[in-house]
């Protein structure tokens, strides 16, 4: 692990991220990435936020949640409603913050009683909660019921998508490489042993759940402020499954895997757009085949680490050096 904030790896990461951002911006401005591809990329950014945050709950902490779409809906509707009233960036910021507050409260209400449940029961309970959220949105006046919200100001721009995505990835990876993250992994490995080692298991499960829910609501908010329209139908159980597919497909417990899977699936969706039904069949079949033949996902728990890569390079360089000395 890097020993301080200004470590070599952290600096290299920052530079890489900024270079990527500059490159993409340039391509967009030159029109090489046209507006169609732009919206594909923006969708991928949203999906990356959703995938890493769900991975925090499911892959790291081992709490099988099928309710991510519910938290996303909370964020989307909070931002949508508030920016319709205050159509500027202050409104958007306020909308995002209100979304955080509501999704935190909702996550606490959901998690404190249900996280005592194990595995599949928890999955069904969270699914139920997310459906309740959707049904409430569908029946409320302020959300305009089943017809949904239209004319939401388009405030989300490429830099906002990009840096929200980077922020989400940073939050999740920092969380994993810290004491609370270790506690969550321990709970996933062996809950009884974790508790015996002084870990308040409920507390850490709730923390992971709340952090995940907040990030999902962030994804919802930036989505609402880009696509003009929000309907409750966007946040069904299928949405939660879509996110789950990315996490499982990449590899539960690995953040880099979730990012890669979100990108691959985003590109796949682009090609399958005209065959919606076929896409769902492929999704379903992919899930089944994946679980039978490679349940750990394409990357398993492998995590990309710049630090290890640099060390490997260094070792190889010095090996070469020493070999030369030896033979020379």
């Amino acid at each position: 692990m890097s020993k301080n904030l200004l470590s070599r790896t952290n600096i290299i990461w920052t530079v890489l991220v900024l270079v990527l951002f500059a490159l993409m911006t340039l391509l967009m401005q030159m029109g090489i990435i046209n507006s169609y591809y732009q919206s594909v990329i923006f969708n991928i950014c949203i999906n990356i936020i959703l995938a890493v945050s769900l991975n925090l709950i499911v892959g790291i902490c081992g709490q099988f949640s099928l309710g991510h779409a519910g938290f996303m809906a909370i964020g989307a509707y909070s931002a949508g409603i508030i920016t319709k009233m205050i159509p500027n960036y202050w409104g958007m910021l306020l909308g995002i913050l209100v979304g955080f507050v509501i999704s935190t409260v909702a996550a606490l209400i959901v998690s404190i009683p249900t996280l005592r449940l194990k595995g599949d029961y928890l999955a069904i309970a969270t699914l139920g909660f997310s459906e309740i959220i959707r049904i409430c949105i569908q029946n409320m006046k302020i959300t305009n019921g089943a017809a949904g919200l239209t004319g939401i100001p388009q405030l989300t721009t490429w830099p906002i998508f990009f840096f929200c995505m980077i922020l989400a990835i940073m939050i999740c990876t920092s969380f994993v490489k810290s004491a609370p993250g270790r506690a969550c992994i321990a709970i996933n490995d062996d809950e009884i042993a974790a508790e015996a080692m002084g870990i308040n298991t409920t507390r850490f499960k709730v923390i992971a759940f709340v952090v995940g829910a907040i990030l999902a609501s962030l994804a919802g908010a930036i989505m609402a402020n880009y696509f003009y329209v929000l309907t409750p139908g966007q946040f069904t159980f299928n949405r939660s499954i879509d996110i789950l597919v990315m996490v499982v497909f990449g590899g539960m417990g690995s953040m880099s895997a979730s990012v890669i899977a979100a990108i691959l699936i985003g590109l796949l969706n682009m090609y399958l757009q005209q065959f919606t039904d076929l896409r769902m069949i492929i999704y379903g079949a992919a899930l089944v085949l994946m679980m039978i033949f490679r349940p750990q996902g394409i990357l398993g728990t492998w995590e990309f680490s710049l630090e290890k890569l640099l060390e490997k390079w260094k070792a190889r360089a010095s090996n070469k050096g020493s070999r030369r000395r030896y033979y020379g």
Partner: protein
């Protein structure tokens, strides 16, 4: 009060259908500890099979019912053999994700071939009804009650009195011990899927006629509700599934009649969460604890 009694009858007929589906959930969970997410879709296939055989082959109700049960039963066995059998030793979450995948494949394959349009049935049952004081029972409701009752009795007899039923109970209690006693675990599990899916097939034709419609995604929400019914009664418990199904059906009908029908589904999920929090083992279930 009169209206209440009438709603109760309506609720019981809807509840009977849920009970039939819930039985499949409970039996499968009881034997391999899997929430068979695809179970609701087997029920959808039942409704489509009924549509198919009644419209194109002109079958009457009873033969159609039998065909639906057999088709769905075989589908259940097929699903189990292809998707779940390789995962018998895998973590439960792996199996659950697989079940979700299977559910997607069935739903969208049906949609791919049949389209999203609603299919309606030819008239299968006489449009007759009887009035007892304040209550009116339609012919269809009468059929639903009798079919459910007969199937439940048959199921109980199979489980309690036959050799294969004993094998099912044995595998459910301890798979390895059952294997050592010479029981073919694979066949027993397949048979359990056959029975559960056949019941879902029966529910499929009944609900198809009840609402006079079949759509590719019709199984998802009732499937979840039937699962709630199974959890309410105590998952793994046969009488629990029956009672749970009736309870959910009545709740839903009463909410529609006296409350806001838009919140009907939310109430069912609310019940689920309350049950899970207050008594996760359900009405008739037993709690389990991990050994340290």
């Amino acid at each position: 009060m009169d209206q209440f009694l009438q709603q109760l009858v309506n609720g019981l007929s809807l509840g009977s259908i849920y009970a039939l589906v819930a039985l499949g959930y409970t039996m499968v969970y009881g034997i391999i500890k899997l929430i068979n997410f695809a179970h609701g879709d087997v029920y959808m296939i039942g409704a489509y099979t009924a549509y198919w055989v009644t419209t194109y082959f002109g079958l009457s109700f009873l033969p159609a019912l039998l065909v639906c049960m057999v088709v769905c039963g075989l589908l259940g066995v097929l699903i189990e053999r292809i998707a779940y059998k390789p995962l018998r030793k895998a973590p439960r979450i792996t199996a659950l994700i697989t079940a979700i995948g299977v559910s997607y494949v069935i739903e969208y394959t049906t949609q791919f071939f049949m389209g999203t349009s609603v299919r309606t049935y030819p008239p299968l049952l006489p449009n007759q009804s009887w009035t007892f004081g304040p209550i009116t029972i339609t012919y269809l409701q009468f059929v639903i009650f009798s079919v459910t009752l007969v199937l439940c009795v048959l199921l109980t007899l199979i489980i309690q009195k036959t050799k294969i039923g004993r094998a099912m109970r044995a595998v459910s209690a301890d798979e390895n011990a059952a294997k050592l006693m010479g029981i073919s675990v694979d066949n027993t599990i397949s048979f359990t899927f056959f029975l559960g899916s056949a019941l879902a097939g029966a529910a499929g034709i009944l609900v198809g006629i009840y609402y006079n419609s079949a759509t590719p995604l019709m199984g998802m929400v009732p499937g979840l509700k039937a699962f709630v019914a199974a959890v309410f009664g105590g998952i793994g418990s046969i009488p629990g599934a029956m009672v749970g199904g009736l309870f959910i059906g009545i709740c839903e009908t009463l909410v529609t009649a006296y409350g806001n029908s838009m919140y009907r589904d939310a109430i069912v999920y609310g019940i689920l969460i309350l049950v899970l929090i207050i008594r996760p083992a359900g009405l008739f279930g037993k709690a389990e604890k991990e050994k340290v």
